[in-house]
Symmetry: C2
Subunit: 239 residues, 2 copies
């Protein structure tokens, strides 16, 4: 049997710490016209001027991490109350060209229809990109994006977070198409309906779509309170 030792000083936080700087980078997902999209910004200053990257910025000294992500997103999209989830820290010493910078990745999901984001931008500053048309990004942002997408694909099957990408009121087909797009699979309409309705997670609004050029579908709503109650009873969301 191999022998292991623990140094007496381990875990001791008295030694001189190395100072590093920390940023946050957000992968903002949106869903429109059946396409999953990501919000990118073109950097206006600095050495990587003119190149596309994830929206992000420095964390303040007295700021909690989640709060910093919220603030940065507020500064970027002008809005609060965005669904946020920390991904993890990315810290390759070479990831940032001028000195050591560790970045903490976040996934954000927003309801496109609530945010007139694109209209507020000049084309050269910020834009939505379809997931399959992402350009080369600055630093390690492509790597962060890859990780982010993998996480989204896993999370969307384990927790009811997809609703954050849809309008308040949505049809079952919209929801299904969201899953199809994110997971890159095809699904069966009747089966999907049965499965999601059996969960008793959605509120039937007894309302129908308007201004559609076909039979109008019923509108549903996701209610987090219901989800929490179900979860307490042992329910576990799964797709």
């Amino acid at each position: 049997m191999k022998k292991a030792l623990i140094k007496e000083e381990s875990g001791d936080l008295v030694e001189t710490p190395v100072m590093s700087s920390i940023t946050i980078d957000c992968v903002v997902f949106g869903f429109e016209n059946g396409s999953l999209e990501i919000l990118l910004v073109k950097h206006g200053r600095g050495i990587r001027k003119g190149e596309w990257g994830l929206p992000g910025g420095w964390i303040k000294e007295d700021e909690a991490i989640d709060a910093a992500a919220q603030r940065l997103l507020r500064e970027l999209t002008g809005l609060d109350n965005i669904y946020l989830e920390q991904l993890k820290a990315f810290g390759d010493p070479e990831r940032f060209p001028v000195g050591r910078v560790i970045t903490i990745g976040y996934n954000a999901l927003i309801k496109r229809e609530d945010y007139n984001v694109i209209a507020g931008f000049t084309a050269s500053e910020a834009r939505w990109f379809k997931i399959k048309e992402i350009p080369d990004l600055i630093y390690d942002h492509n790597e962060i994006l890859d990780y982010s997408l993998k996480r989204l694909r896993r999370r969307v099957r384990q927790a009811p977070i997809g609703f954050n990408l849809l309008p308040e009121k949505f049809t079952l087909l919209q929801l299904m198409q969201l899953y199809e797009e994110i997971l890159d699979i095809e699904m069966d309409k009747p089966n999907f309906r049965r499965k999601i309705l059996r969960m008793k997670l959605l509120v039937d609004l007894n309302e129908k779509q308007k201004d559609v050029s076909h039979r109008a579908a019923k509108l549903y709503q996701f209610d987090n309170t219901i989800y929490r109650k179900l979860t307490e009873k042992g329910f576990s969301f799964e797709f």
Copy 2:
């Protein structure tokens, strides 16, 4: 519709960054005698001297995060090749009493029988604690531990990582009891056997236990290569 704007400077990394210091804290899980345990260290110096906490330490300036976690664990347990998984960053501004310190949490799973850890320690320095007998820890380490345990419970059902807590060769009952302990549930032996064997994930070693005071059970082994091949074919581990 609300209107949103994006500041031109957003994402621009030219402004003066705030310097912070970054640590790593590891939640090291072990499984012995049917109990899930965690390795804690008693701090030998500093203001929190004598209190228990997670093993951890400062990250070096030119060191990748995963590498730092590996190094710290090597320094702490004397061994390499430990299963590691980053949890997330914890960064409440108040979490550390003297200045802003962000810590990155890690989960580590080790095979207790391979590591003569406890024997190498004096009782006052490092010890395994049963998961239900964790004392108050320094800083926010109890919070990190809670998060870590939740993550472990989720991960152990989605990926074949539990094997990292068992000896190389194990019986199906040992594996089942590991799941029972981690998930805090009771399982049915025949059903568990059928489910895990049907996955064709385990190597049947055609060997039996020795020195047990009852009918000896067959020994099995987990093979990551097999798992990868199955995954490529679309298999997805699930419990």
